[in-house]
Amino acid sequence: MKANTKKPFEYSRKWSLRLVFLTTMVFLYAPIIVLVVFSFNNSRRGGNVIWKGFTTKYYGKAFANEELMLAFANSMTIAVTSTIISVFLGAMTAIFLWRFRFPFKPLAEGLVSLPIIIPEICMGVSLAMFFSSLDLWTSGDTPWPFNLSNIILAHITFSFPFAAMVIRTRLQNFNREMEEAAKDLGASEYRVFRDILLPHMRPGLIAAALLTFTLSLDDFVITFFTSGPNTVTFPVKIYSMVRFSITPEINAASTILIVLTLLLTFAALRYQRITDISNDG
């Protein structure tokens, strides 16, 4: 018999909490929506203070901006390359941490997660000093795309631990009896890996690829430090445009990147059921 008629966990139905939630959503989304809306604002000066009518001309301007488009091409090249290598390296990391018991394992785990935790600026600065002390691809006259090498190396360094984390979570619910069953039926170690483990890992690999792609595309700070004078990425280019003068063109360029991120997120959702989000906490 219950003296209290209130249901225990009904916090989500309290109007005050709902109001906090809604306000937070407005807080999170309003700036982005305003940015997107003002990318269609027909105004030249300072651009985006007052609404002056609808236009798409700034998208045309952004697409015609050769430097911006080169920066975009650079960003895509960096993202694709670093994603491929990060997923490969992340998968190796995930497998050895998941599969084996070995001395100093907590140390190895800590080391792998460190690039995720330490402040971006520390990593950016240290990598910048590393490349300049080795004099690697810093002269500015290396041909494309090799001039992007150190940005790619930096991106792999901060994104493969994320890939390893995602893939390891997937491996954690692999039933080792599957592996034994395959061996029992006559499969060699290699066949077990190819026929059983790899298909199991596939969703994790795809999720990891989409995550590292997004991380690479989004990074500003580390790229800002490791990029040479002639190697500008999309975010770094936008940054220098913002520092120079604020124009609707920046809004248009930003919107392009936002749309790209949205597309990637929904692609990720196609491979990972939406319910997985709430399950891995």
Binding site: N4, P8, M92, T93, R101, V125, M129, F220, I258
Partner: protein
């Protein structure tokens, strides 16, 4: 099924472990090692640094103007973290107690802005926080509405809320920077609290309510203590990146609200004082390690108790 001992298949183990460890050694530990050496060095020419094991660079951290900077960075990051936690808890609570079908979508709503480029999110705030920006528009409209209402009630001539609306200045003030840091780091705070609420055994709350405690008392005496670990984690993983923020103070602070990262950046990009920049970077890294140690100490104590 248990883990395999690496000795059973040393070759397979080495083949999988070596690339990772070599990569980290080469592109993570070695770079940190280089700035560690630089932090004990002196500029001998424009680009050459000699490691003389001087402690001057570290001593400079304790000069008054740098201490002012450190203190500002700490309190701005601290207040931003607190604000984040205060907003994050109710938001996490709403998500954790929502209908299971809605939960993942609500979480997606929280994470979506987080996937958007940090630079773009910070840039978006420029439009919001300007003196003629959207936030001041909203505040101005609120002032107008209140004023109209007051006039209707015959209180117009007393000018209770000022003679006219003066737009507030956010850009270039600590308030604007805090607004920006809260904006970019809110998801960091929500997710750990959400997952600690998720893991909570709901029967504790039922028991508390069943024993006659109200919703608020249940919150204070049962819910909050049981999710304290999640709140601490949320606090630390919000505070660490907040302390190292570069973009927010750079774009929203307009050079008037510098934090550690801005000064570090200046040493490398403009002042060309790499040794001091290195020392400052490592100092930031050490603060991070101390915070992580505090967290694992907290976890260990909690594990010991249970």
């Amino acid at each position: 099924m248990s883990l395999e001992n690496y000795r059973q298949q040393p070759a397979v183990f080495a083949a999988f472990a070596a690339p990772t460890l070599i990569w980290l050694l080469l592109f993570f530990i070695a770079p940190l090692g280089i700035i560690w050496l630089y932090s004990f060095g002196e500029n001998v020419s424009l680009v050459d640094i000699e490691t003389t094991w001087t402690l001057d660079n570290y001593a400079r951290i304790f000069q008054p103007e740098v201490l002012v900077l450190l203190w500002r960075s700490l309190w701005i990051a601290g207040i931003s973290t607190l604000v984040c936690l205060v907003i994050a808890y109710p938001v996490a609570l709403v998500i954790a107690t929502a209908h299971p079908d809605k939960k993942p979508w609500l979480l997606l709503l929280i994470m979506l802005p987080f996937w958007t480029n940090l630079l773009i999110r910070t840039y978006a705030l420029l439009n919001i926080l300007g003196t003629r920006g959207r936030l001041n528009d909203v505040l101005g409209w609120l002032w107008e509405t209140t004023n109209t209402l007051l006039t209707k009630f015959g209180l117009g001539e007393f000018q209770l809320i000022g003679e006219s609306f003066t737009p507030l200045k956010f850009l270039g003030t600590p308030g604007g920077v805090i607004f920006g840091i809260v904006y970019v780091s809110l998801p960091f705070a929500i997710l750990p609290i959400y997952s600690s609420l998720e893991r909570l055994d709901k029967s504790y709350l039922e028991a508390s309510l069943d024993l006659g405690a109200g919703q608020w008392r249940t919150f204070y005496h049962v819910l909050l203590p049981l999710t304290a670990a999640g709140v601490v984690t949320a606090g630390i993983i919000t505070f660490i990146p907040a302390l190292g923020q570069f973009l927010t103070p750079d774009l929203l602070g307009r050079g008037q609200v510098d934090m550690i990262a801005n000064v570090i950046e200046r040493q490398f990009k403009r002042a060309n004082d790499w040794p001091f920049g290195s020392a400052l970077s490592l100092f930031l890294l050490y603060i991070t390690f101390v915070l992580l140690a505090v967290r694992s100490f907290y976890d260990a104590r909690k594990a010991h108790r249970s």
